[in-house]
């Protein structure tokens, strides 16, 4: 069994305690484990609608509502690299600190992407059977590029552009991640 699979099984065992299974079926547990990750700082456009969550109560306790105080807005200049334009080519040479292994701003760019030296188009990937079938996205998204990297494993970077404005259903997205998770990572 591959090390990743072992870790996955380990996680599953941890969640499948009698206490958890009392409240969740196996699919819910899978969904909990296979929750997609998002970058902490997202890109937004003017005119977009966003939701800001104020947590009032969680397992840590109840928030004192009277103590909530908003700070004035702060504007800063973001780094030039973003998730679409980032390339770590040459970054290693610029940094003098040899201990440093991650060169990107991890709040904006995935550190996994930073570890990739070279991306190439999916049609040049040797083990074609490992590639994902992206037809799932077709009616709603236009696939701009499907880049691959990795020698013994596959790391994918898919650039999608929505064909029209709208709201994407969460269950649809979850079904996709549920079925394709192993291929995505």
């Amino acid at each position: 069994m591959h090390k990743d699979e072992q870790e996955q099984q380990q996680q599953l065992k941890q969640f499948e305690s009698p206490y958890t299974t009392k409240f969740m079926d196996s699919q819910q547990i899978y969904q909990l484990i296979n929750r997609p990750y998002i970058q902490p700082i997202n890109q937004i456009c003017q005119g977009d609608t966003i939701e800001v969550a104020l947590n009032l109560f969680n397992m840590q306790g109840m928030v004192d509502i009277d103590s909530i105080e908003w700070f004035p807005p702060v504007l800063t200049k973001p780094t030039k690299d973003n998730v679409l334009t980032y390339s770590n080519d040459g970054k290693q040479r610029d940094v003098k600190d040899r201990v440093l292994k991650i060169f990107c701003d991890t709040n904006r760019v995935c550190e996994l992407e930073d570890s990739v030296v070279e991306w190439y188009d999916s049609k040049y990937f040797q083990r074609q059977h490992e590639l994902m079938d992206l037809s799932f996205f077709r009616p709603l998204f236009q696939v701009n590029s499907y880049m691959c990297a990795g020698v013994d494993g596959l790391i994918s970077k898919i650039h999608l552009v929505a064909t029209q404005e709208g709201k994407y259903s969460r269950s649809h997205l979850q079904t996709f991640f549920f079925t394709n998770w192993f291929k995505l990572i």
Partner: protein, 184 residues
């Protein structure tokens, strides 16, 4: 001959305790006080009756009004406050099941150019191509830190075994940040 006894049946009035309902209206602020005391049962309060459902949500609405007004006053140049709502979801941590309750503020990112006249200078806080940070500070209420566990100290729950009383410390202040890059 025995005198006829008058059979006057005196019915004892039925007494029952009722909170909320058609003929027993509660104020949302009272419900909010109960909620702040026992938020673990938030979802149960919502399901008690349609009236309770309304009261719970209205209570949070009223209570959060001050926070939302503060948000609008500070962020009106960048974010247009559209609406807000309360959301709860189930969470699991360390094999334990609990809930989280959030107040969601729905906002639109303003196009600051729209508010400009041809003669006006571009404002100093122009957020295009910048990273906008919205943040707030908060504290947890005293004694609510173990509300999520089985023993609810707020409700007079008793924990088994010897417990060492820790000295009271002022609640720690936390800060939550939301950062976003305005790209277009």
């Amino acid at each position: 001959m025995q005198p006829e006894q008058q059979s006057i049946l005196v019915q004892k009035p039925k007494r029952y305790i009722k909170f909320g309902g058609d003929n027993c209206m509660l104020e949302p602020r009272i419900v909010m006080t109960i909620l702040e005391y026992d938020m673990t049962n938030f979802r149960k309060f919502l399901r008690l009756s349609p009236n309770w459902h309304h009261l719970v949500l209205e209570g949070i609405n009223e209570r959060m009004n001050k926070v939302e007004v503060d948000f609008v006053n500070k962020y009106y140049e960048h974010l247009f406050f559209k609406k807000s709502y309360t959301n709860s979801s189930i969470m699991y941590f360390g094999g334990k099941r609990g809930i989280r309750v959030d107040r969601i503020l729905v906002c639109e990112i303003l196009d600051q150019r729209e508010s400009l006249s041809p003669l006006s200078k571009s404002p100093a806080n122009y957020h295009l191509n910048n990273c906008l940070k919205a943040s707030f500070r908060y504290k947890f209420t005293n004694g609510s830190q173990n509300m999520g566990s089985n023993v609810n100290k707020q409700q007079g729950g008793v924990q088994g075994g010897m417990s060492i009383q820790k000295p009271k410390r002022p609640p720690t202040e936390y800060c939550a940040d939301y950062k976003m890059d305005v790209v277009k």
